[in-house]
């Protein structure tokens, strides 16, 4: 931190001493020789997740946005960790790729030891929380929200959420970003009306939520993947789309 350990005693005449005191406490990441994450560059938008009686369903679109530009339209934001765990990444895509690399290394290590021990969803969730919280504590966050979906060792469905600041919890339905405002209420109402939702019903719900998100989220794309974890294993669908009706947009009023 150059500001803290500066040996310069030179105080410019036209600088108020109050500002110099403020400088002392400023930890400016830009003046550091070591770079810290300042802002996300290529980003993914909402990831949704629902826990069902026979498994867990997650969904995310395949867009990597470059600010407001819909730049990379074939990006996979759901990744299979092993037969019990899927993760979905929201936020900076480079940081998500880093996380995926770390998780792949875990799988390789387990395969190399070859004793049959594997990580279940709560273990991955816990590990993810440790990593993200540790990074935030060093003021160099992985700019992601990760949804961890899968099964426990005893086969129970599990759905967890971890934030770039290390906030971590489990719930029956989770969503990141815009999804937490638009899709989460839809998912919660659907679960209230049908507490014993099956994966097939949840997939229909996901498609509906993603359609609404495409209407309302400026950083969304009408091309998405749905991932499912059941007792048979883990699979991520091919990219899908929903039918949308933009005719209402032909004659807007009040937005001129």
């Amino acid at each position: 931190m150059a500001g803290l350990f500066s040996n310069s005693l030179h105080v410019p005449k036209n600088v108020d001493m109050k500002d110099r005191v403020a400088d002392f406490w400023r930890t400016d990441a830009e003046s550091d020789p070591v770079k810290h994450t300042l802002r996300p560059i290529v980003t993914g938008t909402s990831v949704l997740g629902v826990k069902c009686v026979d498994g867990v369903v997650v969904a995310a679109d395949t867009l990597g946005s470059y600010g407001s530009l819909a730049r990379f339209r074939d990006v996979q934001r759901l990744m299979k960790v092993n037969d019990s765990v899927l993760i979905g990444g929201f936020g900076d895509y480079a940081d998500f790729q880093h996380i995926v690399k770390l998780l792949n290394q875990h799988s390789i290590d387990d395969a190399v030891i070859g004793d049959g021990v594997y990580r279940d969803a709560p273990s991955i969730h816990n590990w993810m929380r440790c990593v993200l919280y540790n990074r935030r504590s060093k003021f160099n966050p992985l700019w992601n929200t990760i949804i961890v979906a899968g099964k426990t060792y005893s086969g129970e469905p599990y759905l967890g959420y971890v934030d770039k600041i290390g906030v971590s919890f489990q719930d029956k339905s989770v969503a990141t970003g815009f999804g937490s405002y638009i899709a989460q209420p839809m998912m919660r109402r659907a679960l209230e009306e049908n507490p014993n939702m099956t994966c097939a019903q949840a997939r229909v719900l996901m498609a509906r939520c993603l359609k609404v998100l495409f209407y309302r989220d400026c950083r969304a794309l009408n091309r998405f993947q749905i991932g499912t974890v059941t007792s048979d294993g883990c699979e991520i669908s091919e990219p899908l789309s929903t039918e949308t009706d933009w005719s209402i947009g032909a004659n807007p009023s009040g937005y001129e």
Binding site: I113, D115, G116, V117, D120, P122, S123, N126, C130, Y153
Partner: protein, 279 residues
């Protein structure tokens, strides 16, 4: 550097000594020296330390893993040496050999288990725990100037794959066992265990498993001694029960249950000097 110089001096001194004067072998000064027969004597000497320690044994049943130990008192004035050390809720060890080395290894095992629980939120599987101890112990068997840990660890633990008994040797080898006995006079215990080893996997009741273990332990006693609440320690862990150590009055009930039976009275006719196959 200093250590290296001393070792070489020692070596040269030996060559000049007349045969049989001070050392059994020319090749036993350092653990980094092979003998022409392909043995590392320092490691074998370390394994002797286990044979000097008081007996301890472990048995794996269907739902539980049990360790029992004979506690020795160094004098009538001192207390009996604790031999069973809890490691985590799902694992514990019983030791034979250098107690101080055992403390270091048990501290290492505890931090491994704790770190795993912190990061992954679940207990460390016993096979991974044991192999991490083995990896740590191996460095002492290969680096010049160091020595192997002079303690045998009988690990009892329970994870998703069920109860386990592992034996970690001073050579840093580790063995998964159905049952195993180590320490002084443990050959008789191994004989008992060998006779019954195929029964253990069907034993569902904890008390029955402990009774088997105590019967085997009884055969390790020196003459005119018997199992008492002072010199016996029992530890057990199961799928639905955390690692528990029973000492003193708490073992009285277990001892009572085997009291009425006769001691098995020494080695079985076919027991030779060969090492027992434990897997």
């Amino acid at each position: 550097r200093r250590v290296r110089g001393q070792t070489f001096q020692h070596y040269f001194k030996q060559i000049n000594l007349s045969s049989g004067a001070m050392y059994r072998n020319q090749y036993d000064n350092d653990v980094s020296v092979w003998s022409p027969q392909g043995r590392i004597h320092q490691i074998e000497y370390a394994m002797e330390a286990v044979k000097q320690g008081a007996a301890t044994l472990g048995i794996k049943g269907k739902n539980y893993a049990v360790v029992v130990a004979l506690k020795r008192a160094s004098s009538d004035l001192s207390s009996h040496q604790k031999k069973i050390i809890p490691i985590d809720e799902h694992a514990g060890i019983s030791i034979a050999g250098l107690t101080s080395d055992a403390r270091i290894l048990s501290r290492f095992m505890r931090t491994e288990c704790l770190n795993h629980r912190y990061v992954y939120g679940s207990p460390l599987s016993i096979s991974r725990l044991v192999s991490s101890v083995g990896d740590k112990a191996q460095t002492g068997t290969q680096i010049m100037g160091r020595r192997p840990y002079g303690v045998g660890l009988m690990v009892a633990g329970c994870d998703e794959t069920g109860p386990h008994i592992y034996y970690i040797c001073p050579s840093s080898n580790f063995y998964e066992c159905k049952c195993m006995a180590i320490g002084s006079r443990s050959q008789s215990a191994r004989t008992y265990l060998e006779r019954h080893k195929d029964e253990f996997k069907n034993v569902e009741d904890l008390n029955e498993l402990v009774a088997h273990a105590l019967r085997a332990l009884r055969d390790c006693l020196p003459n005119d001694s018997e199992l008492t609440t002072k010199n016996v320690s029992v530890g057990y862990v199961g799928r639905d029960c955390t690692f528990t150590v029973k000492d003193d009055d708490e073992v009285a009930d277990y001892l009572k249950s085997i009291e009425e039976e006769k001691a098995s009275g020494g080695a079985a006719p076919d027991a030779g000097e060969e090492a027992m196959e434990t897997q």
